[in-house]
Symmetry: C3
Subunit: 161 residues, 3 copies
């Protein structure tokens, strides 16, 4: 099954990506490496606010992390010129979990993002990862995840350099 068939089988529709005209952008490419900015958790189109160990549960935050993974895949599609089949490898995730001092399940929260990527990309989705508890996130979001991915090394790109 292709990446798109897997997304369909999982009943996932990728959201439209808005690329803001700001100093910092949703992704930047260098060579065949794409760096995706930290994506904040959202619920019903708004920032999903909460702090683990205080006012949001691990189960809720897993849904938030899975939602971020879907947003990251949508941004990755934009980075790949609209085609996810150009993605060679999901290389790394960094997952920031908004945590008070005694919450220690950052890995469980993040697993739902890793597992979705594994389901969609298979062997090419196996990634290195760091997941840890931060003191707070922009706008109070409960989770933020950034990604590094490898995009096809096209001959076009090579000769353009």
């Amino acid at each position: 099954m292709s990446v798109y068939e897997k997304l369909q089988a999982l009943n996932i529709t990728l959201p439209a990506v808005v690329l803001p005209d700001t100093a910092d952008v949703m992704y930047a490419q260098s060579g065949n490496t794409v760096y995706l900015s930290g994506h904040l958790a959202k619920k019903d189109g708004k920032i999903w606010v909460g702090q683990l160990g205080k006012d949001i549960t691990t189960e809720e935050a897993k849904l938030a992390a899975r939602g971020i993974a879907i947003e990251l895949i949508a941004t990755l599609q934009a980075a790949g010129g609209g085609d996810l089949k150009r993605v060679e490898r999901i290389v790394k995730l960094m997952s920031l979990v908004n945590s008070i001092g005694d919450f220690t399940e950052q890995h469980l929260v993040t697993n739902s993002a890793s597992e979705l990527i594994d389901e969609v990309f298979g062997e090419q989705g196996k990634h290195a990862r760091s997941a840890y508890g931060v003191a707070q996130l922009s706008l109070g979001a409960c989770v933020e995840i950034e990604m590094i991915a490898e995009i096809e090394w096209s001959a076009q790109f090579w000769w353009r350099r």
Copy 2:
């Protein structure tokens, strides 16, 4: 305008870079990617101490972040063999904002660094970014920022490999 003309127009003089002889260094290059170590905020040559939400304001921390951006550009110049024109792209910033648990303006603090880089490097300055609240920083600094940049792929480098 070149990068140097823009720096001059902004009335910015790059500080001298001291490269310490330690196990960890100010930057490391791999291929045409340069990784800059986390740079701590400074005021009058000393670490700028403070925690957001407690004893330093967003406006003050924005000045601190802008100052770090200038330090990063100075280190980048050293990495580029003394010539910022060899910088192809500012790829990514990671901004660590020393925050107590209810401060949620990490993105605003970091914007001042992103915007300076945008002013100096233009399109080549558009970067991916993560900005978040950490529990504490080395020596109590209020902000720490690290950078990934792409340096010109020189024929000299290529053949040396």
Copy 3:
């Protein structure tokens, strides 16, 4: 002295590496860059639990960070097809120190990891670094460190692409 002779001189035996069959893996390679996942501090084979400034000292955490460096080198050996001599450069460390709000010696904790890498790899071990205080780590670990390294660009790899 080779890397292996240095390890022997330091009386260090690399631990066996278990590569779990999960969505996130111990390392991922892209081109000649290897990204190692965040490795948690261990003591006697179990997670070394503790928070700096509260229930573990800087001296203890330095031992923990040194132990992580050894684990990272073992994973790097696995990434290099069993041969550390294929490592061209230790490029970057990111060190997460589990800290309460007034602990500011994250750099001292991390130095023990940086210094071991310096002892083992010499000039090739000089790395960029960020070290900072996080609110909490998975399973309560006191320190977590991730690594980026450069592996030999083999002709075999090149032609396989």
